[in-house]
Symmetry: C2
Subunit: 209 residues, 2 copies
């Protein structure tokens, strides 16, 4: 699909066709397209929980103000942002380091430098850790919503939920933040979508101080 | 451009053609494509400062570890995330409210309800305000990078900079967080791009607890 059509037709869809599943291979394809997303030091501090089971989705729906689409969509994703995704104890920082060495862009001697750089940029405060996790995961989530659209799917991003409730219900470790849920499926075209909402213009977005 | 080509060819480009400008009309088009990005309650808590002037870009470069692309690219954007973008004092929350009334999705009687809902979801702590601002602005920034690519441009997202330094230098009000800078231009094809970096696979992204 042409990019301009993807952008123009991506909508937060409230109604999913309950009879049309999202095959696992298609979901993989969408997630792997989104995986190309750039991130701070390529640390990719995002993860997904994939909910397909009706009972599981209903448990999530209970924590999400009862929003019907959480369980009506064939797939609902819990999107996770790792606030410690920059730190030495995160296995992906070591993987990152080894992959950079293999690519000839890093040497074992710079291990301490790399650790300090990550810490200084992302680890100096609770706020910087949270911003690191949520902005990068925001990049990933947006790419995922667009990638889904490019494959004929629709999505609905949601942040109307109890984060504490979701974390307890699904045993999510507390180093994660849950920036959003995304329901994924095919639009139920027995329903009508409201017209697109207003958006800021270029002149409203660009500021000067 | 086909979406799959946009995704496959978007790279964080280090070298920009210094002789090829980004016309203002093209930048507008890219920003307005990105403006379709979904956000919490459609609050769109993102803004951009557009730097084209060489001296201005050099002042930014000084705060960004001297990275050459900040001033070599014809345009460098300071991306701003409004931590108070959910609050009553933000003019866009009132615009949002009025636009919803016009669309028949809100009534004047629900003003207090709408204010309380925004506060409860995004305003209860410093952390929730920051997460609200940075995740939504992350969505917007990613859409902008992909939209730029779809128009033949390249971008480079950066978060290696002193946020305090940038905020002081450019008189940015302290309710904002600066999640990233984005340089925008045409790739300097006298240079060679390194091969794409590794990415997490689907099985590395999907987690269970």
């Amino acid at each position: 699909m042409d990019f301009s059509d993807v952008i123009a037709t991506r909508r937060a869809v409230n109604y999913f066709d309950p009879d049309r599943d999202v095959p696992d291979a298609l979901l993989r394809e969408v997630v792997e397209m989104a995986a190309t997303t750039p991130s701070s030091f390529n640390l990719q501090p995002w993860s997904l929980m994939v909910l397909r089971d009706k009972e599981e989705k209903l448990r999530l729906q209970k924590q999400a103000m009862g929003q019907g689409k959480v369980s009506e969509a064939p797939v609902t994703l819990i999107v996770l942002a790792d606030r410690r995704g920059w730190a030495d104890e995160c296995p992906f920082t070591e993987k990152n380091f080894q992959e950079m060495i293999q690519a000839g862009a890093m040497t074992e001697e710079r291990r301490a430098w790399f650790s300090k750089a990550r810490t200084n940029l992302y680890g100096t405060s609770e706020a910087s850790q949270l911003a690191f996790a949520t902005k990068n995961t925001g990049f990933f989530a947006m790419a995922l919503m667009l990638a889904a659209r490019s494959k004929g799917l629709h999505t609905h991003p949601m942040d109307g939920f109890s984060m504490d409730g979701v974390m307890k219900e699904f045993h999510i470790p507390e180093t994660y933040w849950v920036p959003l849920l995304i329901s994924v499926g095919y639009f139920n075209d027995a329903q009508e979508l409201a017209p697109p909402k207003w958006r800021k213009t270029y002149d409203e977005i660009v500021v000067n101080f």
